[in-house]
Amino acid sequence: MRDFALAAEVEELCAAADRLGRSSLAPAVRDHEEAGAWPAAVTDILDGFPLAGLDLPESLGGVDAGCLTKVAVLETLALHDAAGLPAADRTGPTVGALAACPDRALATSVAASLLAGEASSAFTVPDEELGSSELFWGPSNPPLRWIWACAGSELALVEVTGPVRPAKVLAFQASGGVAVPFASTTERGRWDIGVHAALAVRGRARLWAAAIAVGVAEAALQETLQYTTDRVVFGKPVAHHQGNAFDLAFAASRVHASRLVVRDAAASFDRDEVDAGFWATQAWLETMENAFLVTDIGIQLLGGHGFIVDHLAEKRFRECRHLAMLAGALDAAEADVAAAVLDVPDALLAGLEQQR
C-alpha cells in the first residue's frame, strides 16, 4: 500500500463484494448457518472473482492481485457474513504455504484442485510440546483434502485419505466443518524451509484470519451503533449515555487500528519484505485483541438482546474467538514474535537501526 490508499481497481473489487454481500449474504445469515453453507449462487460468483485465486501467484493458477487486494475483499465480505468464508475461499490461509512449498509440481497440483472447487484446504500450527494428534476443525464444503502444517522452520503437507468426523465448533457453521485425525492422513511432503520463510507462511495464514476479523468487528460496531442510537433507556438513546458513548468511540478507534495494521502487513507481503511474516503475525495479534473488545462491547451494549440469536452480536462474538483459535492460536503467535523480536528491525526506520 502506498500512502494508505487502495488502488482504484481494488476499490472496485471491494464495491462489487459489498454489493454481493448486501444482496445475497446479509439477508440470510442465519439460513446459511442452518444450511451449513453459503448458497451455490453466491459461491459461483465468488469463484468468478476469483476469491480463492485472488492472491495466489500466477504460477499456481491464481491472478496474483496481491495480498492487500485479498484482505480488502475478505474484510468487505466478512462485514456481511463471515461464516462461509473459510469454505468459499478454498486457498484462504494456505496461500503462503502453497507459495513457499519447494515441490512446485505438488503445489501446483494442490492449487489446481482447490481452484477447481474439488477440495478444501486447512492450515495448522502443530504444538511441538503437546504434540498434535488431529486437526480440530477445517472447512468441508467441498470435502477437506489438503492440510498444511507449519511449525518452527518446517512445512508439511498431508492429504486426507481416511475417515473424518463432523466437527461441532464455535462458529463458521456455514463452512461446514470436520475434524481430521492425523492417522487419517498421508504425508505428501515435509520440508525445512527456514525460519523466515516458515514465519511468513504462518503470518500469511494469520493475516487471512485477521482480515476476516476486521470485517466482523466493523459489522459489530455498525450494528451496535445502530441499536444504541435507536433504543432509548432512562430518557435518551443508549449511546447518549457518556459511559456507553466512550465505549463506542473506543471500539471505533480499535477497528480503525486493526484495519491499518492488517493492510500494512498485507502490503509488506506484496513488497516481498523479509519480515512480512513477523508483521502479519503482529497484525493478527493486534486485530484479535481489538476484535474481542469490539465484539464484547457489541453484546454488552445490546444487553440481553446481544445474547440471543435475534441479533448477530453473539455470532460475531463467537467468530472472533474462533478466528483466534486458528493457526496454532494466539499463544503460538506470541511465541513466534517473541522469538523474532530481537532480530526484526523497526519496520520504517530499518536503515537507521545500526546507529542507535
Binding site: M1, H241, A267, L348
Partner: protein, 393 residues
Amino acid sequence: MIELDRRTMEMLEEVRALGREHIRPMGLEADRTASPPPVDHPFYLICTRQGGLISGMIGAEEGPTSLDWKPVRNFLIGEETAYWDRGVALSLPGPGLGGPALRNTATPEQRQRFLAIFDDHSTARWGAMAMTEPGAGSDVARIATRARKDGDEWVLNGQKMFCSNSARADWVVVWATVDPALGRGGHRAFVVERGTPGFEIIKVEHKMGSRGYETASFVLDDVRLPADNLLGGESFYESRKGFKASMATFNMTRPLHTAHGVGMGRAAHDFALDFVRAEYPAQGRRRQRALERLARIRRRLHTARLMYLQAVWLAKTGQSNALEASYAKMYSPPIVLEAVVAALDILGEAGVRNDRMLEKLYRDAKILDIGEGTQQVQRVVVARQLFDFPRDA
C-alpha cells in the same frame, strides 16, 4: 505503507546524531535541575544555524498549499526527537504550536510578518500558542479570554495557562472570544508579541516530568493589539471559521502528540531490549516473558505509528482527518505508558533508579494522555462524529 525517501532518511540520521549528542543529555539535565535549558543554550543556536532542521513539525514557509509541505517527514522527525527527549524536542526554537495555528488561519501577509523572524539564523527564536485557561481546559469552547474591538485596535483581557514556551516566545497565538454567548462562533486568534504592554508571564509550572520545556501561565491585562494581529482578518471568522480553525490546528497537533508518544515508547523499548540482550540469560522463563512483552510493545507502537501517519497523510492529501487524529490520540498514550511500564518491569528493581532514564520516561509519559485533549475528550470528539453525540450529554 509510507516509504521514506533518501532525504528523509538523511534528516532522520542527522536528528539521531543530534539526539544522542545533545537532546538526551539536555533532557536528563533539565530533569535533574527541574528547569528547561536556558534560551542561550548552545544547542539552540546549532539548531537555528541549521535553519530549524528539527525545530518543529511544520516548516515556517510550508503548508498544505505548498508543494514543499512534508508533514510525514516532519512528523517522523518529531517522533525521532521525542525518542531522545520529548521535553527538549518541544523546547526547540521555531514557531512551535503557533506554526499550525498560523498555517490554518493567517493571511499570506501575516505569515510573512510573523514567520520571517525564523529566517534570521543568528538568534534562537520561539513562537507559541495559548488556548487553555484556568476555567477551560479540555472544553476549549468555554474559553473566557475576552477580545473587544476599540477603534482600529483589539483589546484582550484574560488569563492563559499550560502554554509551552510562552515565557521565551517572540509571539504567542492567543485564542480569545468576542462574546461568550456566541460559543465557538465567538472565537478569534490573535498574535500577541513579546513586550506588548499588559502581557505578563506570571508563573512557570513545576512538573512531575517533561521538564525539558517550560510550561507557563500569563495574564492579558488590557493588551492592545493592532487590527492586523487578528489572524486571518475579520472575514475569516464568518461561519464559525474561528473555532473550526482552532480544531484544524488540533487535527495536526494530535497526531504529532502520537508521534512523540511513539518516539518515547521506542526509547523505552530499545532500553529494555538492550538490557535483555546484555543482562538476561540466553534461556529461561524471565527471558521468554521479557521477549513476549517486548514483542507486544513493538506491535502496539507500530500500530500507533500507522495511526498518526495515516492521519497526517489524510491532511497531506486534503482530506478530513478529525476522526483519525482523535483515533490516534486515543490509542497512543496508554500504549506508551504500557511500554514504559513493561520496560521498567524488564529491568526489575533497578528500573526505579533515576540514573536509568526509564523512571524519568515514566514521569514524562503521562502528559501524553492530557495534552491536546485528554483520552476522555477524544472519546467525546469521536462519539460526536460517529453518531451525533449530544453536546449536553
